[in-house]
């Protein structure tokens, strides 16, 4: 007995990044002999594997890292890709899920704090495009900010997608008894998604209440060099 008007409960879809382009966020943080290499970028999982080797080699060469980094980098990338591919065979739940995505990152001297809603079911979403618009509208000049924002979004989407795989598995096990209320259970399972029924009901408006406006407004801060140093020092301390 399906609830009437329940949101698109589609059949489960094979796991993939819920964005227009199926790109995997890869994070590298390698420390060796006193040198530390931190990086974050997106990788196309359909690239042939020799690309990893080429990339690692070029990175080591460009950044003049000791050659030991080469194996570390390629291994790290490969293991992250393998994780992604492990999920790829499985089913992903694709109910309507609108989640808040939070941005709280620092890129060189720019600090960005933001929060917005993202529909996990929208397979045409494009974090890169969103990041580009954000930087353009806010007049951010540092060209490294855009990709960092897109990466942060992708990372969060990846996490939630992984969660939805496990939730799909759970719901499948107990599917027989909860056929009609799959929507409700899955969305509550993640704990993050918004209460759509309440928000989009006939009586309420989609215009946000005034008190929520501040939360959802993007904030960009330009730090001076000293502030950057101070923040970096604090981050190091936290890391250790």
């Amino acid at each position: 007995m399906k609830a009437s008007g329940s949101s698109g409960w589609k059949g489960p879809v094979k796991f993939r990044m819920p964005t227009a382009e199926n790109l995997v966020p890869i994070r590298l943080d390698i420390q060796f002999e006193g040198q530390r290499y931190k990086d974050a970028f997106t990788w196309n999982p359909s690239d042939p594997d020799n690309e990893i080797v080429l990339f690692a080699r070029r990175t080591v060469k460009d950044l003049k890292l000791p050659p030991a980094f080469f194996t570390q980098i390629s291994q790290s990338i490969q293991s992250q890709l393998a994780d992604f591919r492990a999920y790829e065979g499985q089913d992903m739940y694709t109910g309507e899920k609108i989640i808040p995505i939070k941005l709280d990152l620092r890129v060189n001297q720019t600090l960005i704090k933001d929060q917005f809603l993202w529909d996990l079911n929208n397979f045409e979403s494009d974090p890169e495009e969103f990041a580009r618009t954000l930087c353009k509208d806010l007049g951010v000049e540092d060209p490294e900010v855009g990709p960092a924002v897109a990466f942060a979004i992708r990372e969060q989407l990846y996490e939630i997608a992984v969660q939805s795989v496990s939730s799909a598995r759970e719901s499948r096990l107990s599917k027989k008894s909860r056929r009609g209320s799959d929507y409700g259970s899955a969305s509550k399972a993640s704990g993050l998604s918004m209460d759509l029924v309440k928000l989009f009901s006939f009586k309420s408006s989609v215009v946000r209440k005034r008190k929520d406006l501040d939360i959802y407004e993007p904030m960009v801060d330009l730090l001076t060099n000293e502030e950057v140093d101070a923040l970096e020092a604090r981050e190091e301390r936290h890391a250790r």
Binding site: G8, E124, F130, D137, L199, F200, F202, V206
Partner: protein
């Protein structure tokens, strides 16, 4: 309070007229248009609770109102997304859709274009490239939107800055580097510096030996500005002929038109209203419809009979009545016959009276090819050439043309003229027949449509009748039931009375007695 309301209401009355592009006139506040429905199928497919028409309408109205709060500033997506609940990607799609249709940010210069302009090389003192030609903001007339440069699928593709009229058609005003006077562009020559492109000397200074700065006589070369002054008709004619003959090879064209440089030829050709057609037709002869239209226009012009003139008029009238039909059928006709003139006649339908000139030359060339007579026939008769040149220089008045043709007729070669008259007559005849056929087809279509409409109405009536009949049946059944109920009640009453009488109640029924 009254004062403020008056002011605000008058302000509202002032600002009530917002400019949106003419093609967005379908937009209404109270309804969602078909265009919107098509674009945003996800809202209207009833597949989700977060995407409903109501939600879409709220988004749309909010964004437009937000923009209209202050039309002078450009509304950015980031500034409004915080106000609306919902998937940001979807919101962005709505925002871009509204921006594309000019319902918001219509009067704001696109920042991307501005950036490109500042990087592009522009001549000093001329209009900046890419400026929008719109009326002043807040005017009451709807304004045609400028062409939008939007293609997100290819972020790597950048469009070159739009050239302005002055870039193409006007030469920069040149000043002599030494004496500071403007180099006259029409009469004397001036001397250009070989290495520095901006340094020019007028003739006088050059002769006097004042080169200014450290320049020597060798540095300057003569550039004939007079040559580019005016294009006589002979030159234009030569140009057209040589373009048809040589196509894209501008060196040869410049040689044929001996007094003009290569660049001059190109710019003159662009200036002529049909120039681009010629360039295309020379290289891809008879391959597309536009080129056929020019010879067909010649056909119009080349009429040497008053009768043919009338035919053309009727044909033009037909054109105006049913351009859409012709456009549909033009595709069918184009691959029919291979004969040039027949195709010309068929394509004549598409031609408007505004295309004139190269029609003359192109048709001459085409006819020459078909009739395999050398072009020399045309070239030897100087008068004929002049008349053709007259036409080709843009003489659109057909009566004038006729007069000229009347004059020149006697001097032309008879066989050629006769031949052309015959072919023209057949062409026009074919065109007229074609037009008639199209008219008939149109009528038949209309009849068909009317018949189908009537059909539908009949169907509607029939179904209504059926419905009413069913109602009747139901009513009948109910009536029967009522009758039955009445009977039973009557029976009950009788039985009650009987029992009452047998129980000895007085004949007067009165509730008070029962108590």
């Amino acid at each position: 309070m009254e004062v403020t309301t008056d002011r605000s209401s008058s302000k509202d009355a002032e600002l009530e007229l917002y400019t949106i592009p003419a093609q967005s006139s379908w937009f209404v506040w109270d309804d969602i248009h078909e265009i919107e429905r098509r674009e945003f199928t996800e809202f209207f497919s009833e597949s989700s609770i977060t995407r409903t028409p109501k939600v879409y309408k709220e988004y749309r109205d909010f964004i437009i109102n937000k923009y209209r709060e202050d039309t002078s500033r450009r509304l950015t997506f980031t500034s409004i997304r915080k106000y609306l609940i919902g998937d940001v990607n979807l919101l962005r799609k709505v925002f871009l859709f509204l921006e594309k249709w000019g319902l918001i940010n219509f009067l704001q210069k696109n920042d991307d274009l501005v950036v490109e302009e500042s990087e592009a090389k522009i001549e000093q003192g001329t209009t900046p490239a890419g400026i929008r030609v719109t009326s002043t903001p807040n005017s009451t007339r709807p304004v045609i939107a400028p062409p939008l440069v939007e293609e997100r699928a290819e972020p790597a593709l950048t469009f070159p800055p739009l050239t302005s009229y002055s870039n193409v058609f006007k030469k920069p005003a040149l000043f002599c580097a030494h004496c500071g006077q403007p180099c006259p562009s029409h009469s004397a020559a001036f001397y250009e510096h070989n290495n520095k492109s901006n340094v020019n000397l007028c003739e006088k200074c050059f002769k006097n030996g004042d080169y200014g700065g450290n320049n020597s006589a060798d540095d300057f070369k003569l550039s004939l500005s007079s040559a580019t002054a005016a294009w006589t008709e002979e030159e234009t004619l030569l140009l057209l002929e040589s373009v048809l003959k040589h196509g894209d090879d501008w060196e040869l064209v410049a040689q044929s038109v001996s007094t003009k440089s290569r660049l001059d030829c190109i710019s003159k050709l662009i200036e002529l209203p049909f120039g681009e057609f010629l360039m295309g037709s020379a290289s891809g002869r008879l391959r597309s419809d536009e080129h056929l239209s020019s010879p067909s226009n010649l056909v119009e012009e080349m009429k040497t009979d008053g009768q043919e003139h009338k035919e053309t008029e009727t044909r033009e009238e037909n054109e105006e009545d049913e351009p859409p039909a012709k456009r549909k059928r033009a595709a069918m006709m184009s691959d029919g016959d291979t004969s040039l003139m027949k195709q010309v006649a068929a394509m004549a339908c598409k031609v408007g009276p505004s295309i004139t000139t190269a029609a003359a030359k192109a048709a001459i060339a085409a006819l020459c090819d078909e009739a395999s007579c050398p072009k020399d026939i045309f070239e030897t008769t100087g008068d004929y050439k002049n008349s053709a040149a007259d036409r080709s220089v843009g003489d659109r008045d057909t009566s004038d043309i006729e007069e000229q043709e009347e004059e020149k007729e006697g001097l032309e070669d008879l066989p050629v003229g006769l031949r052309m008259r015959v072919s023209v007559a057949t062409a026009l005849g074919a065109a007229a027949a074609h037009a008639k056929i199209l008219a008939d087809q149109e009528e038949r279509e209309m009849e068909l449509l009317v018949a189908s409409v009537i059909d539908q109405q009949l169907k509607k009536m029939k179904s209504k009748l059926k419905f009413l009949e069913q109602l009747e049946v139901i009513m009948d059944a109910e009536e029967k039931v009522m009758e039955g109920a009445k009977d039973t009640i009557l029976q009950e009453r009788i039985s009650v009375l009987q029992s009452a009488f047998s129980g000895g109640i007085t004949k007067r029924w009165d509730h008070t007695y029962m108590k």
